[in-house]
Symmetry: C2
């Protein structure tokens, strides 16, 4: 059954791989599944046809026959459930990996997204610069805890799993800020993720789209 995902016609990051379709592409590459991509413009994302697929008007979405999913975490989980290379089959190990999937998206990512709000969404507000150190401190609290738990392990819980795929993707958002480099073990963890051939293919695929798109503005 053909899998079709959606992605930005023109990603706001210009192809740095931070748009969330990269996460889904990565999961599909790890599990060796071919997929089609339908590109959507910012205008189309807010129109009824796309909102029927994604009630919050975002990308990516996932279609496979009659099944239509949105929300990156859920799409990656759906893919991972069917492939032991992304979620262990042992029920306890699977529950722990699922825990780390939620932790990546619900505990580690929110303060990181707040940096985007402070830096970009509220860039023109008088408090923007003054808020940045507070936001960065909340991120460091999480990274301290995460690096303490990871220790010198390669991955969060034994073998590479969908939890690492999501956690690495979340941490990648920090690279430009320099904060990630304050945590050498986490920077090395992210580099291990990026070095995976499946990540490289996913990154390359999204880059091809964005390199082909005319520059914004």
């Amino acid at each position: 059954m053909t899998i079709t995902i959606t992605a930005f016609e023109r990603s706001p990051d210009g192809g740095k791989g931070l748009a969330r379709d990269t996460r889904v592409r990565w999961a599909l590459e790890e599990t060796n599944q071919p997929y089609d991509v339908r590109l959507v413009s910012f205008a189309a994302m807010k129109e009824p046809a796309h909102l029927a697929l994604h009630p919050f008007g975002q990308i990516p979405t996932y279609e496979e026959g009659d099944l239509a999913l949105f929300e990156t975490g859920a799409i990656v989980f759906h893919i991972a459930q069917q492939h032991a290379c992304l979620l262990p089959e042992d029920p306890a190990a699977r529950a722990r990996a699922t825990t780390w999937m939620f932790a990546a998206l619900n505990t580690v990512e929110p303060p990181i997204l707040d940096l985007t709000i402070a830096r970009i969404v509220e860039a023109d507000k008088p408090w923007s610069q003054a808020r940045l150190p507070l936001v960065a401190e909340r991120i460091r609290t999480r990274l301290n805890q995460l690096s303490a738990r990871l220790g010198d392990a390669d991955w969060l819980d034994g073998a590479f799993s969908a939890a690492d795929l999501l956690m690495v993707s979340v941490l990648l958002r920090l690279r430009m800020s320099g904060i990630l480099d304050e945590y050498p073990t986490l920077a090395a963890y992210v580099a291990r993720g990026e070095a995976r051939p499946a990540y490289q293919r996913a990154f390359g695929a999204q880059l091809t789209v964005n390199a082909a798109a005319p520059m914004a503005g």
Copy 2:
């Protein structure tokens, strides 16, 4: 096998049910499972024994024999997977419910938590009041989309599921702000969740703990 969860010795909300153990209690009540509660102080949450269970030093945690989980979404998912009353058995319906679980925690909750940051964490900052309308607008964007999708349905996707349990819990955080009341269909949706006997038992159980605790300060 005995299930043990952790909860605040003294919840910051004084028993309004907004601490995340209420979500886990609710799932356990919907599935008619007895559970023990171990109360932890703020100091104990940052100590090695608790960090071994929860690397981010939060509550709730979940222990069942040798299995130890953290992260509310993952705990609720673990409970729900074993009981059709919280996750449908049909694979497509289950994938859709999982999508809504992630949407509640990763798309709807972050702007709502930002209101807590603006109102409480950054209450003493000079920008606190000026930021509130921006944060509220980001919440309204999500609530507009959510209410458009819910329409006049009772629950997000057919029967009540773990997705509704999480979405109602997330929306409950908004009640004090008055924003929820701007959306009558969402306010009614939350009220339907609160009216469930399992929610009532969960709410009552956390209230008993907090009513018994001496007042802070």
